[in-house]
């Protein structure tokens, strides 16, 4: 079943009975929704969504209707009417809607600007004295695949490329309360910027070497370990990210040929104009401090590195540009 139909099913099954979308449904669909309400709005369900089915801990890449629970209980402990069926049918939607129950633990307001150990992506990071951004992913040099490195933006870790290698990196960032005791890594390398006329820049990225390689996990909150690297999503498809400021959010891809000029500080002093090309413009999914977030498709495949935004849009660089410029890949040591 396609993502749009699953999203419609999710809406119909979770909206209150007096919602216009439910009221305008045909009588057979309304009856099916009423029957399903005992489990779709049951006391154990803490959230719903549309995502890949997980079977025996593995991602099947099959999009299904997700029902998130704190923990999975033995069926005998669940009242019959609250048991979640493996599939459901709504006459308004063609086909069978497959479901998947996933235990995600107790929900709590998560401050991604806080200190987190082991280190995981999605949380606040920054150079000593610098503005906060987001730790995007754990990566590794292609020729040293087990040695974890931290990936974020150059303007987050490397002061727009001006900071020298060895600069101390903090988690959380200074503005989020991080001090020298929160030193987690040192700047290794950032992507060079080309200030010549034209659109010569493809990404704004940097990597840092972690101080304690045993204290790193690649799981991104509410996304999980990236499911490999995916192709650039076509316009109209949804992407997701978890970032320091806005947490886990989604947005639709609008334009995969986006070009823009940006003012960046020059190495010799003053400011210059950088032309970026082939960036991915999306509906807004971010805010200040989310820079460096890894952008994934809805199957959990990593597709980009977030770096800029406006009042109505967000922009990421295709991950292929980032990985090629830094000669890195996703770290495989943690899985």
């Amino acid at each position: 079943m396609n993502e749009d139909d699953l999203a419609l099913a999710q809406e119909l099954l979770t909206l209150p009975p007096d919602a216009p979308q439910v009221q305008s449904a045909d009588p057979d669909t309304q009856a099916a929704i009423d029957r399903a309400r005992s489990w779709s709005a049951g006391p154990d369900v803490i959230g719903t969504g549309v995502a890949s089915k997980i079977t025996s801990g593995s991602n099947t890449n099959e999009l299904v209707l997700k029902l998130y629970v704190t923990e999975k209980l033995p069926e005998r402990l669940i009242p019959r009417e609250q048991r979640i069926p493996s599939s459901v049918e709504l006459p308004a939607i063609p086909g069978t809607i497959e479901t998947d129950v996933e235990a995600i633990g107790p929900q709590e307001l998560q401050l991604l600007s806080s200190r987190i150990r082991p280190l995981v992506p999605g949380y606040s990071v920054g150079r000593l004295g610098g503005s906060p951004g987001t730790l995007g992913a754990i990566v590794a040099k292609v020729n040293a695949p087990l040695n974890p490195l931290l990936l974020s933006n150059s303007h987050v870790l490397a002061q727009y490329g001006l900071a020298p290698p060895g600069m101390i990196i903090l988690q959380p960032a200074s503005r989020d309360g991080g001090g020298e005791a929160d030193s987690i890594a040192t700047l290794l390398e950032s992507t060079p910027f080309d200030f010549n006329p034209g659109f010569n820049n493809l990404c704004d990225a940097a990597i840092a070497s972690v101080t304690n390689r045993l204290n790193v996990k690649p799981d991104i909150p509410l996304i999980g370990v990236p499911n490999g690297v995916g192709a650039i999503p076509i316009p109209g498809t949804q992407v997701q990210k978890t970032g320091r400021t806005t947490g886990h959010t989604t947005g639709l891809v609008k334009d995969v040929h986006y070009r823009t000029f940006m003012s960046y500080p020059r190495p010799g002093g003053g400011w210059g104009t950088l032309g970026f090309r082939d960036q991915v413009l999306c509906e807004k999914y971010s805010d200040g401090g989310d820079s460096g977030s890894l952008v994934c498709d809805m199957q959990g495949r990593a597709v980009g590195l977030h770096w800029a935004g406006s009042t109505s849009t967000s922009v990421f660089s295709p991950l292929a540009f980032v990985f090629s410029a830094l000669n890195v890949e996703l770290w495989r040591g943690g899985v």
Partner: protein, 84 residues
């Protein structure tokens, strides 16, 4: 029919000039809206603010076999873009 290839050619030819306008902040390629005929896509021009612009309705690009194609342009307000 105006294809994606023609839009990319238009971007290569005109991006720099379009972005020289003070309120133009980005350019790209979008799907052709329903009111655009004979084109799969349009050149998108993204503005920092909702102000009048001198952006043309079409951009002319040379065809490989000779002649000129007119690639339609659409303008939308994005808001000021900054690193986040």
């Amino acid at each position: 029919l105006i294809t994606n290839a023609a839009c990319i050619k238009a971007l290569d030819l005109y991006s720099d000039r379009l972005l020289q306008q003070s309120n133009v902040q980005g350019v790209g390629i979008g799907r052709a809206p329903s009111d655009v005929v004979d084109s799969e896509c349009v050149i998108m021009v993204y503005l920092a603010e909702d102000l009048p612009t001198d952006v043309p309705d079409y951009l002319e690009v040379p065809c490989e076999g000779g002649g000129i194609q007119r690639v339609p342009v659409r303008v939308t307000v994005q808001g000021p873009l900054r690193p986040e």
